[in-house]
């Protein structure tokens, strides 16, 4: 395309937006509105999924109780062997004395009951931290094969439920987001369609003075892209300040600790910026081209 044509196209696009101010505002705001909704839902779902992940990390440890009468050296060797199992992040040793002290502390008020014990009935143990909760099953299996290990304790039910819950949130969330992306595309392209419909006479005349399809298309396409892009920027600003406000409200007025469990505003934005701009501008451009098609057939 010649430079002169580029200048012409840009000039026509801006004039198109300006001369149809009312409709441009309507299109931009519909795009902004639907992307803002998408942003809201993404905030909800990404945070839920993030929380599920954090909850999992609380249950990433398995306790392996050792048989009695092991030499300190054997215990140490065993520790190294456990650490070598694939999926194990790191290993912590808890002697029977430490275990009793811990237990007493956990029981708190009723801890004095343990003082009446004649001997320490608790075993030595290794607390095995797994890299990811889904590897627990496999690690437990490996641990059971050691003769030095008497019993392995882990939160099987909780872990299973957490894995399922996370899977659920991920799949339902993905479904919701994909649905929403389609609905958003739909609303944006509908808006562009209505905008172009109102200008069919203009397109018709252009064709009669001998304009080629692309000559008509370019300015409309750039116009659609710009409308979509501006709408996306507005949505991003709304999502940014909206999330910022809620984030602050949640972390100060409610639980301070919550801030650790929420996606930060930055993380959130990094996930939405590209997506919104591509959706807004891309659908605006494509919507223009597709909607133009029937009016170009003259």
């Amino acid at each position: 395309m010649k430079l002169r044509s580029i200048q012409y196209v840009l000039q026509q696009s801006f004039r198109g937006i300006w001369r149809n101010k009312g409709m441009s505002v309507a299109s931009i705001s519909s795009v902004a509105a639907s992307l803002t909704i998408l942003g809201l839902i993404m905030i909800l779902i990404l945070n839920m999924s993030h929380l599920a992940g954090l909850a999992q990390s609380q249950f990433d440890s398995v306790q392996a109780f050792l048989v009695d009468d092991l030499e300190p050296a054997d215990i140490e060797v065993l520790g190294k062997q456990i650490a070598d199992i694939s999926g194990v992040a790191y290993v912590q040793y808890e002697s029977k004395e430490a275990a009793l002290a811990n237990m007493k502390e956990r029981w708190g008020q009723q801890g004095y009951l343990l003082d009446t014990l004649e001997e320490n009935p608790l075993p030595n143990s290794y607390i095995v931290h797994v890299g990811h909760i889904s590897e627990s099953d496999h690690v437990v299996e490996q641990l059971n094969s050691f003769t030095e290990i008497d019993e392995v304790k882990y939160y099987r039910d909780i872990i299973d439920n957490l894995i399922r819950a996370a899977e659920l949130i991920r799949s339902v969330g993905l479904l919701v987001i994909v649905t929403l992306v389609f609905i958003t595309i739909f609303i944006i392209s509908n808006t562009i369609k209505l905008t172009i419909n109102a200008r069919k006479r203009e397109i018709n005349i252009m064709k009669y003075v001998g304009a080629t399809n692309w000559f008509v298309r370019w300015p409309f396409m750039i116009e659609g892209t710009l409308l979509g892009f501006i709408g996306a920027c507005i949505a991003l600003i709304l999502v940014y300040f909206g999330y910022h406000t809620v984030f602050d409200m949640v972390t100060t007025r409610f639980f301070v600790i919550f801030s650790a469990y929420l996606l930060t505003v930055q993380e959130m934005m990094s996930r939405t910026v590209m997506m919104f701009i591509v959706l807004g501008a891309g659908v605006g451009a494509l919507g223009s081209i597709i909607s133009l098609r029937r009016y170009l057939e003259v």
Partner: protein, 228 residues
Amino acid sequence: MIEFRNIHKTYDNGVHALEGINLKINKGEFLFLVGPSGAGKSTFIKLLLKEEEPTSGSIIVDDEDITIYSKRKTPYLRRKISVVFQDFRLLEEKTLYENVAFAMQVVGASPKEIRRQVPMVLGMVGLSDRAKQYPHQLSGGEKQRVSIARAIVNRPIILIADEPTGNLDPDTAWEVMKVLRHISRRGTTILMATHAKDIVDVMQQRVVALEKGRIVRDVQRGIYGYET
């Protein structure tokens, strides 16, 4: 230059607008197309522009059969043939200047050419001082003249005018006719559908009369020929 070969046109609603038209128009000719309301004059013009397709027959323009033309080439056909439409077809959201300039931008004219040519043709139709106004600010006759300015600005090889003086007072109509005669002398083929008896009678050019979709008369140096 233009040849209609046994053209029939029946619209979807069953109206037979044209029934077996055979006509040859030579380069540089000035031809009046006359006939009562509904005779098929506008249909004849729409077929030339590929706004409508003939039901049967073929149309040759500049040695090419435009009925078997691909849709893609329509814009280039419309650049050879400029039209003054019966309903003006001006872009409401562009000024007069822009409306005329637009026809030049479409064919890729340079900004320099545009700046030279547009004021010139607006002057020819007497609207130099209205260049910055929008179509809705014009009277009927003024719109018609803008439409004429847009049609001639690209120096087309064929100019078609559908009732170009219908909204003009006799004086202004004659001004427009002078412009048309001028560009006709430069070699442009002109086809003008009209009801203006006075003009046809005075101009002494070829007259083709349509009636109910058929050619009923075709004379060189003819007159309008309908009683009033």
